[in-house]
């Protein structure tokens, strides 16, 4: 007998989510036990922790029930009902991320079902009727109207909750800005594999990622890939800004301490975090390749690291060169 329409797991045609990435506001990085304590969001489940290739902890999923219109680029109002899954991760006890995600089937029933039927499919949001998935993907990436389904709000709520944790002493070792990364994964053409269609830096701290993936790629894996992208993009952004804040050259030579003070936190807290693809499944890891080629994330990172090391070396040397510099 064919399964009843209402309980069949529909095929997903769109997965999306949003990730917040920020520096953990604590003077010392959390060790793996403290990290697990911070990320114990549910009494019945422990956070996942791993120590290779770096310290990493991830909470179990929490679910948020939603019943609201989907954002869409063409103004179509499609109501959707279901649950959004959210989780938090801490890398090297230093970089905190919260990530909310959901996926959508191509069609849903015309009327809302009993709530229990949504609860058995965590992270699935079902449209009432047919899903205009291209328009919705564009709507998600562009940001919806007030009241539309917004994974960013759910990620933000989880982040706020974690930042109130008594483990945190609220003494960040340096000033930094959080970033937001919105992503949407649309179905690839039949026979085609995974493809990164677009990665954009919008505004100052918003990034958007548009993917093409074979149907039924698990949303959790896609979220893990995007969390990895968000983490490394945040590292680049943060270190670039740190170097931006340093006044180099002769004018600054009078205060060499300032350069060391500004760059030291990068060495203490960030330089060892670069490890792209470490937590990405093998078939999704290839999605990193275009970014490595152009603009070349790792290439830029290496250059930044080298610049920081050069600056620190320069400032470690007593400065006889000051004497021979021409006086303006």
């Amino acid at each position: 007998m064919a399964p009843r329409e209402s309980t069949r797991t529909p095929r997903a045609v769109l997965a999306c989510g949003e990730i917040r990435t920020c520096l953990l506001p604590a003077r010392q990085a959390l060790d793996i036990r403290a990290a697990a304590q911070l990320l114990a969001l549910r009494a019945d489940e422990r956070a996942l922790t791993s120590e290779r290739p770096g310290l990493y902890a991830r909470s179990s999923d929490t679910l948020t029930g939603v019943d609201c219109p989907l954002p869409s680029a063409n103004g179509a109002r499609v109501r959707a009902v279901g649950t959004v899954a959210a989780r938090a991760a801490l890398t090297e006890g230093r970089v905190l991320q919260t990530s909310a995600r959901f996926h959508l089937p191509a069609t849903g029933p015309d009327r809302r079902r009993p709530w229990g039927e949504y609860l058995v499919r965590p992270g699935v949001v079902e449209p009432l009727g047919k899903l205009p998935h291209e328009a919705v993907a564009q709507g998600v990436l562009g940001g919806g109207r007030t009241g539309d389904l917004d994974a960013g709000l759910i990620a933000e709520g989880l982040l706020t909750r974690l930042l109130r944790h008594p483990l945190l002493d609220q003494r960040p070792p340096f000033r930094s800005r959080p970033t937001r990364l919105r992503w949407a994964a649309l179905p690839a053409a039949p026979g085609e594999g995974f493809r990164l269609e677009r990665f954009t830096l919008a505004e100052d701290e918003l990034r958007t990622v548009r993917l093409r993936v074979p149907e039924d790629t698990p949303a959790a894996g896609l979220a893990a890939l995007c969390e990895d992208l968000a983490l490394h993009d945040w590292l680049l952004t943060t270190v670039v800004r740190m170097l931006d804040g340093v006044r180099l050259g002769t004018g600054a030579a009078r205060d060499t301490g300032a350069v060391v003070r500004t760059l030291r936190p990068a060495v203490d807290h960030l330089l060892h975090l670069w490890m792209p693809r470490a937590r990405v499944s093998p078939e999704l890891a290839a999605l990193w390749d275009p970014l490595e080629e152009r603009p070349g994330f790792t290439r830029q990172w290496r250059t930044l690291v080298q610049r920081i090391r050069d600056q620190l070396t320069l400032h470690a040397i007593p400065t006889p060169h000051q004497e021979v510099e021409p006086v303006p």
Partner: protein, 305 residues
Amino acid sequence: MLVFAASDKGGTGRSVTSANLAYQRALTGDHVAYVDFDFGSPTAAAVFDVPGAMRGTEERGLHSYLEGEVAEPARIDVWRQTEHPLLRARPNQSGRLVLFPGDAGGGEFAIGEESLQRCIDLLLRLNGEFDVTVVDLSAGRSYAVDMVLAATAHPRMRNVPFRWLVFHRWTRQHVIAASGLVHADHGIIGGGVERGHDKEALEAAIRFVRAAVPDPESPLWSQGSPAQAAWMQACDEALRRLAAEHAIGDSVVLGIVPLEPILQWREQLITEEDVLATQIANKETLEALEEIARRLTDDAHWGRP
């Protein structure tokens, strides 16, 4: 560093002066947030000349944020969104200058535990992101003052440094009122102690800014009669004595802003251009603002009086 700007009365130039301090700090390379907690009459949009950017933030301002209606308050990047032609050309090596506007038409409101927690969330996040956060508070012993006193006394904020600037004009009434705001039974210090602040530490974190002070030596008054000059001198003396008697004497003054038409009438940021090119602002005013901005983080000016 959090800097709270308070005043007993309106019309003391608190908003416009604190906005100018924020601007001056950004020019020196600091990342600066300006938070408009002047719930009664938000004016920051005019000072930073961002009326266009304010459209669409009416329901996403700080008021809505504190009441839990939006998850994050609206922010306006001043360099990018200002309509002031001189500010648009963001000077090289300057830091970010971000305005957190209040809601249009949002009045004073009582604070509950949840708004207090949200206020703490916001101040902690700003402290992690900006070098200096200037918080402009509604005049008097307002809910805004209560809220930040409670927030800064909260254990979550124990490691966040803060300072208070109390603005007042240089008249008898304003001197007495400013002293009352800080030292009266339920003033900032009394109210702070009630909420768990240490009296001495709080006292040491409060400095006064005298605004719109006519300088008897200024060329502005050089046309006056000798009698006028002598009278001004005497009044100035008397006010100094009065201020000292009310525990707001020179030792707790962070700076003095001269009487400046551009601050009084136009309520805008004073740029170097206003002083050098168009000469509509006085050089002394700009220098006073630069000096106060510098002293904000200079511990030598924040020793115990």
